[in-house]
């Protein structure tokens, strides 16, 4: 049972990391190329 929980934690964390990558891709899209200075 503990093994299942641990493996679920690993898979869950990596799924979140993949979602985070998608979020970064989304963040990059509309603002890419915009001036960062005031």
């Amino acid at each position: 049972m503990s093994d299942v929980i641990m493996l679920a934690l690993v898979i869950g964390c990596f799924a979140l990391a993949a979602a985070y990558a998608s979020l970064c891709e989304h963040l990059l899209g509309p603002s890419a190329g915009k001036d960062a200075s005031p």
Partner: protein, 575 residues
């Protein structure tokens, strides 16, 4: 302090400096696909690996594809290592009949080595089978270093390329880094270690009768091969619990120097590789110069602090003067064969580099020395760092530096011909903010909950420093331990695993996003408004940014731990 001590430090710096250019040139040739002397020998192996894995080496990936490959590879690595640790009792090469590693410890260890951290909540010689050490720990040391270098190379390509949608192929970078860089060095280095007394055997522990008739069990195993990649990879996880303080891991001052060079060699060389790949070696030297200044400040502070007398012992009239019979200063937790200079240098290199190997016990350093070790890790391991992570961490600070310079003069920030736009700044901030968030957040929780306090070996600010050190080390993927903290509990195993996960993956995703965003840009011509980043002025500007960002973020935490402990020690209060 002694002249010999300073010469030892100077010799180390000279060797690393001398290796930087040739090794950097070699790395650049490897990652740009040029021929190298090892090509005839290793190219058939490389081609066979690609065929076996179904990889098309000519096909490049977008930053998103590169990132997903990176994540999938590491998820598989954690699951495989976890399985190996859980099943080691029924697998071969287990002469000491080690039992299965408990689930929470196995998860912590798997995450630790896959993320290039090597935090160890266990003693290697009493917990792991030889198969786990060789096929688990050692293999992940290779792969985590190769993947870290791959990320740095992808970011370099982002800076170097113009108007392209790809940043390389993760699988090719991983394979070439392992085959052409790590493996050749790790064939030669173990021979040097073995020649100086490091064991390499699959025999079980030796049992000897002591002079008074007692039985002593001497642990041994395939140490030399693991030792080489442990240092070269920036991993740092020792075969033995005592790590490089153990005479079988680091028997002589000569092996100590060799180990130090192995730790720093690739991280320093990658700065030169960066310079070559963007077409200006000078830019690489500027980064190395910043790293060298931070390193110099740290090692000078540590060596001078540890060489001074411990005021608590001085109050008891203990003789701590340097003489023929004793090295003087604070020798608690240090090996006599390395002395204060060899221990201070190793501690500085270890915490600056993200390696985390230790040849002395950091918990026994004086409080302000402990603060220096913490500060090294708190600047995101940019002082050379592990292979790859040091360089991409430093490049993130470069982006922040030119952004701040742009704010000052009201112009678009640029770095090595790339416009630093809002998107790159957002990604950089995401990458830089997650480590302090994980470190300070988890430290705060562990400082107040019962399972966190249960692991403490000391009270007061020293106990707090033990907790702060553990999470700083984990989130910075360093892996060195302050000792004193009993971290093999479900609470610490799981929360430290979380810190290591954040410190590796939550940082690398935006780093690769920055690479992809930069690669897609056109070149920005040098103009009168461009901040020159290849001059001494930028060295000081970048240094200021690193120190201020690190200082502002962590100063309150440092004040609560080593700083207040140091002040109280001077007034006679010990913890």
């Amino acid at each position: 302090m002694t002249v010999i001590g300073w010469l030892q430090i100077a010799l180390f710096i000279a060797i690393v400096g001398g290796l930087t250019r040739p090794l950097g040139g070699y790395l650049a040739r490897i990652y740009t696909g040029q021929r190298t002397p090892l090509q005839p020998l290793l190219a058939p192996v490389e081609t066979a690996l690609y065929r076996l894995a179904g990889i098309k080496p000519q096909t490049e990936q977008s930053w998103y594809g590169y990132t997903i490959s990176f994540l999938v590879f590491h998820a598989a690595g954690i699951i495989a290592l976890y399985g190996l640790l859980r099943l080691q009792s029924v697998l071969p090469l287990n002469p000491q009949a080690m039992t299965a590693v408990p689930p929470d410890l196995a998860l912590n260890t798997a995450v630790s080595f896959v993320t290039n951290t090597s935090w160890q909540s266990y003693g290697g010689e009493t917990t792991l089978s030889y198969l786990s050490q060789m096929a688990g720990i050692t293999v992940q040391s290779f792969l985590s270093a190769a993947s870290g270098m791959a990320v740095a190379i992808a970011l370099i390509r982002g800076f170097a390329r113009r108007r392209v949608a790809t940043i390389g192929n993760f699988w090719v970078d991983l394979t070439r880094g392992t085959l052409y860089v790590l493996l050749p060095i790790c064939v030669v280095a173990p021979l040097l270690l073995m020649a100086n007394g490091v064991p390499q055997t699959l025999s079980a522990t030796a049992e000897v009768t002591t002079l008074d008739g007692g039985l002593q069990v001497i642990a041994r195993g395939p140490v030399a091969t693991q030792e080489a990649i442990k240092l070269l990879s920036g991993d740092g996880g020792g075969f033995f619990n005592a790590n490089s303080a153990h005479p079988f891991e680091n028997p002589t001052p000569l092996t100590n120097l060799a180990e130090l060079v192995l730790i720093f060699a690739l991280g320093a060389a990658l700065t030169n590789c960066f310079g070559r790949m963007i077409g200006s070696e000078r830019q690489g030297w500027i980064l190395l110069c910043v790293m060298a200044i931070l390193f110099g400040l740290g090692v000078a502070g540590l060596y001078s602090a540890e060489s001074a007398a411990n005021p608590a012992l001085a109050a008891m009239n203990a003789d701590q003067t340097l003489g023929l019979q004793q090295p003087g200063g604070n020798m608690e937790g240090k090996e006599v064969r390395f002395g204060i200079a060899g221990s201070a240098l190793f501690a500085e290199v270890s915490t600056a580099s993200s390696d985390g190997a230790v040849n002395s016990m950091h918990d026994s350093f004086l409080p302000l020395s402990g603060g220096i070790l913490l500060a090294n890790m708190m600047v995101d391991e940019v002082i050379v760092g592990a292979p790859g992570s040091g360089l991409y961490g430093m490049l993130l600070f470069c982006i922040i530096a030119v952004f701040l310079a742009g704010l000052m003069i009201g112009r678009t920030p640029e770095y090595v011909g790339n416009k630093i736009a809002a998107s790159e700044v957002k990604m950089t901030i995401l990458a830089l903010i997650c480590i302090p968030a994980a470190t300070l957040g988890l430290t705060a929780i562990a400082s107040v909950v019962e399972p966190g306090l249960a692991g403490l070996g000391n009270a007061g600010p020293h106990g707090y420093s033990e907790i702060l050190y553990a999470y700083t080390s984990a989130a910075a993927t360093n892996g060195s331990a302050f000792a004193g903290l009993s971290s093999n509990s479900p609470f610490y195993n799981l929360t430290l695993a979380l810190a290591m996960f954040v410190g590796r993956f939550v940082v690398i995703v935006p780093v690769l996003a920055v690479a992809g965003s930069l690669a897609a840009q056109p070149v920005v011509p040098y103009s009168a408004g461009t901040l020159p980043t290849d001059r001494a002025l930028f060295v000081w500007f970048l240094l200021g940014v690193i120190i201020i960002v690190g200082g502002l973020t962590y100063l309150p935490a440092l004040a609560l731990g080593p700083i207040i402990e140091g002040l109280q020690m001077w007034s006679g209060t010990l913890y």
